[in-house]
Symmetry: C2
Subunit: 409 residues, 2 copies
């Protein structure tokens, strides 16, 4: 994979120019993308800033995120050829920091579940996951050092796990969603894909202007291993990855305990979809009213379902989520991080499904930072998920980095 | 003014058609708008639904809210001629319920503070307030029965007070902001202007599908009169309006007490601008980076200020707001509503300022429902503000309605 930290070191040392770093990406895309299909648009001649912490870093932007210089088509024929006026806030910020918006990456329609044509870079018969399919595949295949995704259920962490790259879904609204097509305003979260956890920390610090994110300490952290027993059990490969990550964390000096989550969290998890689908039906009200027949079947079904959710069920789900956030906050008084599954297993052998977000939904609803750490192994990639307290993105990244280091060492 | 309930009664009785009700608005606009300037676009031939609780109701839509059928120019030359692809969620919902998106109304640039050319319908030498200038003026002048605004500091309640119409800033995100240009994602709230409180309750229930909003009971409510002493004292006209509203509420059977707000609320009030301006700088990142010179001076100054706010100051403000929301929630265990100033006085005699939101900022930050009730009097309009607990929009409207009735009776 292309590492941000590596590219930046070479640029700082003078052995690579920002334009040269962008060319590396173009060459990788030319070589690898024909078998993957991660992109819907490439900028043939982008401005390449010479300054800034992210100069020379080419970014892939999920195609539900507005760009003024490239079309934004939301994975849907309804938006064919659509050109927003402005860049989304996160895109504007990336450019301010020197990055290049080189490409738009494939997304399922409106970031829901209808698969794209993108293939898993590790095996073309398998899904790359979704909804941030192209972003995960582009980074996992070594075509880009950084990509933006969004997560409403499990659309960042799951595809990262499937494609073998690192990713973070930061604390809710740490990265603004302004200019990002809304599905659920209470859940949608912009996330990052990169080669390693250090790359994520560097990029997130640069985007947010919060230097502390990149210097979080994790000496002897208390880590709770959580199985999320309320969800159907995972496959053996996910179990094995969690066991390996646990051993690695212990080797890195962490104190590990097993934790069964309080009932309030299971109750919130069960209600995630009421919030997602009720809000989705409203957020996509124009599309549902005027272009329902042009919606692909899975998202159409979700919106039909959302149409049938009563406000009282939505309010009840929000109350449960609010209660669960308080319980989780107290829990983070006793542990520094949670370690759990990123996905039920490796990428399923199908292009007809984007996989199952059951181990991701709760954490999106809680708004807490989640990091996918790839776990080296023999078969298709599988990752584990390191979760921190709300606002503790730096610490979550530090714990994830120590586990990543111990897994590699 | 044109009343939604009155128009709907005439349509139900068969004495007016939906198209006839729209024509009444067109005639009023032709007669009155030349001296006011509330509109930036009118639809000459809109679809007019025959069914739905809002059929025959023409709506004015603040021009930071996306419409697929009319330009959306955000009060800024940067968006001259801009046409969004989709309707904002609230516009789609209004149309589903039978309403007609007849007009776009003037807004200060990006809903900040640079005045529009709109004049107060009660005296053309006075501001209509802002940022929802055109929406407040259109309803206050009797040109439309319903209009949409947004409030980030005081942009719904204040112009309603100045223009003499009823308005509600509902609980945070009760109406989705999807498709509304963001200034501050933690604050921006879509609100409604209408002739009377009953009209607001009917429209809000129709838009949200929450029938309970229109049947809130308010028998003998406990009302706390709050002066917001942390803000500079209001003018005598605002004091007089509050006193009259208090007397009216007592006459209507309410139990009134005086309340000095806990210190936590004053501390949150002081920090509102850190959240607004820090987020504004990010939300308008593209405009600030590429079109700074095209921004009018007040919003440019706000964004310059936002650029200098450190993440730590923003985080501190959010913590204070979070704490204040809990204090306020407890306070609403003891009272049913708060009664306070809507604005420091009548509309200032100037077109160079939109007035002062100092009595509105706290309540936007708290996310609680606020209703402006016009107080009949001799001079220019002045209103009072009725505030309810989060999610208690129906009760806030019921209390406001009882005060409105007692003031008229």
């Amino acid at each position: 994979m292309l590492s941000i930290l590596d590219l930046r070191a070479r640029i700082s040392a003078g052995s690579l120019t920002p334009a040269g770093a962008i060319d590396l990406c173009r060459e990788a895309i030319a070589a690898r993308d024909p078998g993957i299909g991660a992109f819907v648009a490439l900028d043939p001649d982008p401005a390449i800033p010479q300054e800034g912490p992210l100069s020379g870093i080419a970014v892939g932007i999920k195609d539900i995120i507005d760009t003024a210089t490239l079309p934004t088509q939301l994975g849907s024929t309804i938006y064919e050829g659509w050109r927003p006026r402005a860049d989304a806030a996160v895109v504007a910020r990336l450019k301010e920091r020197g990055a290049v918006a080189l490409a738009k990456t494939t997304t399922t329609a409106f970031a829901s579940s209808d698969p794209t044509e993108t293939r898993n870079p590790h095996d073309p018969g398998h899904t790359p996951g979704g909804s941030s399919a192209g972003s995960a595949a582009a980074v996992g295949a070594g075509m880009l050092p950084l990509a933006l995704g969004t997560q409403t259920a499990g659309s960042v962490i799951r595809p990262a796990s499937y494609c073998g790259c690192a990713a973070i879904k930061p604390s809710f609204r740490l990265i603004p969603t302004v200019g990002v097509k809304t599905f659920s305003w209470a859940l949608d979260t912009v996330g990052l894909f990169a080669a390693g956890v250090g790359d994520l920390a560097f990029a997130l610090a640069a985007i947010t202007g919060r230097d502390g994110i990149d210097i979080g300490a994790a000496a002897g952290p208390r880590i709770a291993v959580v199985r999320q027993d309320f969800a159907e059990a995972p496959e053996p490969a996910a179990e094995a990855a969690l066991a390996r990550a646990r051993t690695a964390a212990e080797r890195a000096g962490a104190r590990l305990t097993d934790l069964t989550l309080p009932q309030e969290l299971a109750e919130a998890w069960e209600r995630h979809r009421f919030i997602q689908d009720f809000e989705g039906r409203q957020a996509l009200g124009w599309e549902y009213r005027h272009h329902r027949d042009a919606l692909p079947p899975l998202v159409r079904g979700v919106l039909d379902g959302g149409d049938a959710i009563a406000p009282a069920a939505y309010d009840d789900a929000r109350r449960h989520a609010h209660r669960a956030r308080r319980v989780l906050k107290d829990l983070f008084g006793e542990v520094d991080a949670i370690l759990t599954f990123s996905a039920p297993g490796p990428a399923p052998e199908t292009l007809a499904s984007t996989g199952d977000p059951r181990f991701n939904r709760l954490w999106t609803l809680m708004g807490v930072p989640c990091v996918n750490v790839p776990v080296p192994g023999d078969g298709l990639p599988v990752g584990v998920q390191v979760i921190g307290r709300f606002g503790g993105d730096g610490q979550a990244l530090a714990v994830a980095r120590s586990i990543e280091g111990a897994l590699r060492g």
